[in-house]
Symmetry: C2
Subunit: 231 residues, 2 copies
């Protein structure tokens, strides 16, 4: 019998790769996405398709409305920065920071893991993220791991859950290279912070810039649809 694992699946490039890793390690994957007042549904559609294509047992979308608290480009009406260089992207906490978002997401993952008897939770944060987002750093993950083993019945009764961030030390180019070897169809994945109505990427926001550079370093073009043809 395969072991159960919960995978946080945004529909982006990173979490799609993580789902492929989880499947390649023989886990039965329980994919968890969030509808959290994003401006767009393209990510969630991508997550659903990826769950099917990569053989997840189940895909659950949790509805959480962070707009009740206000404050971020991903959830409020603030301009998404465009055309920044990789160096600029790396500095400071991004405008797209959502307060406590990963803590909320991981809390739900913990509940889901307990209900489905999963002892492993996978998430797709990586080295690029943790230069900017406080809740993507290794020390944050270690603290959540500590919390997880104290928070739940399974923790108290001795088995606990283990948090995995298999992309943590990988560059975007390395993530893409790994995912391609594992059969991820990146044309499905969506990363853009400011997509068109049909889900096409803007090509200029931080997420698009990093993603396109990652494909270029692999000698490839990003197969996802863009509304502006990239130079």
């Amino acid at each position: 019998m395969s072991k159960n694992a919960v995978v946080l699946l945004s529909g982006g490039l990173d979490s799609a790769t993580v789902l492929a890793i989880v499947r390649s390690r023989g886990f039965a994957a329980y994919a968890l996405s969030f509808r959290y007042g994003q401006r767009h549904e393209a990510e969630l559609q991508a997550a659903k398709t990826l769950s099917t294509n990569l053989g997840a047992v189940e895909h659950v979308v949790a509805e959480i409305d962070l707009r009740i608290f206000g404050g971020s480009a991903l959830t409020a009406d603030v301009a998404v920065p465009k055309g920044r260089s990789e160096a600029e992207i790396g500095g400071g906490i991004p405008i797209t920071y959502v307060p406590a978002r990963n803590t909320i997401f991981l809390s739900y993952a913990l509940a889901y893991a307990e209900v489905r008897g999963a002892r492993d939770i996978f998430l797709g944060i990586n080295s690029l993220d943790y230069s900017g987002y406080p809740d993507c750093r290794p020390e944050y993950l270690a603290a959540f791991q500590q919390l997880a083993n104290l928070a739940t019945r399974s923790g108290v009764e001795g088995q606990g859950v283990t948090l995995h961030a298999p992309l943590l030390q990988l560059s975007k180019a390395e993530i893409i290279s790994l995912g391609l070897r594992l059969g991820v169809d990146y044309s499905i994945t969506r990363s853009c912070y400011d997509p068109a109505e049909d889900g096409a990427a803007c090509g200029a926001c931080d997420a698009c810039q990093l993603r396109r550079a990652g494909f270029q370093k692999n000698g490839l073009s990003d197969p996802a649809p863009y509304k502006i043809v990239a130079a």
Copy 2:
């Protein structure tokens, strides 16, 4: 200018007392409740009334649907245990345990605190709770405190948030005594796991038993409405 504090407010006896404590310490109180697939709305009505009566600046209700994951007396169709003694209530993880509930609630509180510039979060867990619920123990709170300072912009930028559980070492009788001195109207509060349609308490579930015993130890009757007159 008064400092801002976030208070987790269920509408029960404990969190009502905490809100009164927060106000007595001069904080501007931001009350946060959750609609999480409870069987009944009486608690949330009580939370709203308490927020007004005790002078909270704001009362926000976050909608979270834990039913997507299944599994607890508070959120699914499982019988609530009745007529257990105080000793029986203290043993093991209660059937009313909701996986990772406090972790989810505190994650939202962390987001709310960051958005409102609050550096203090108060919650009403106490010594009776932590005999049973894993996520009510002091070591759990310490782990969340550690996480909170790594999870957010305010933590990274140096100020952070402090978690307060002022009832942790108090008995139910002591909580009631303290709340009465601070002017809490306990007739508004709701604690019952299995209330009637009109919000009247059952008088027999664990929460009712503990609550009634707490008033009795103060030489008082519980002023909240019961559907069965307590012996």
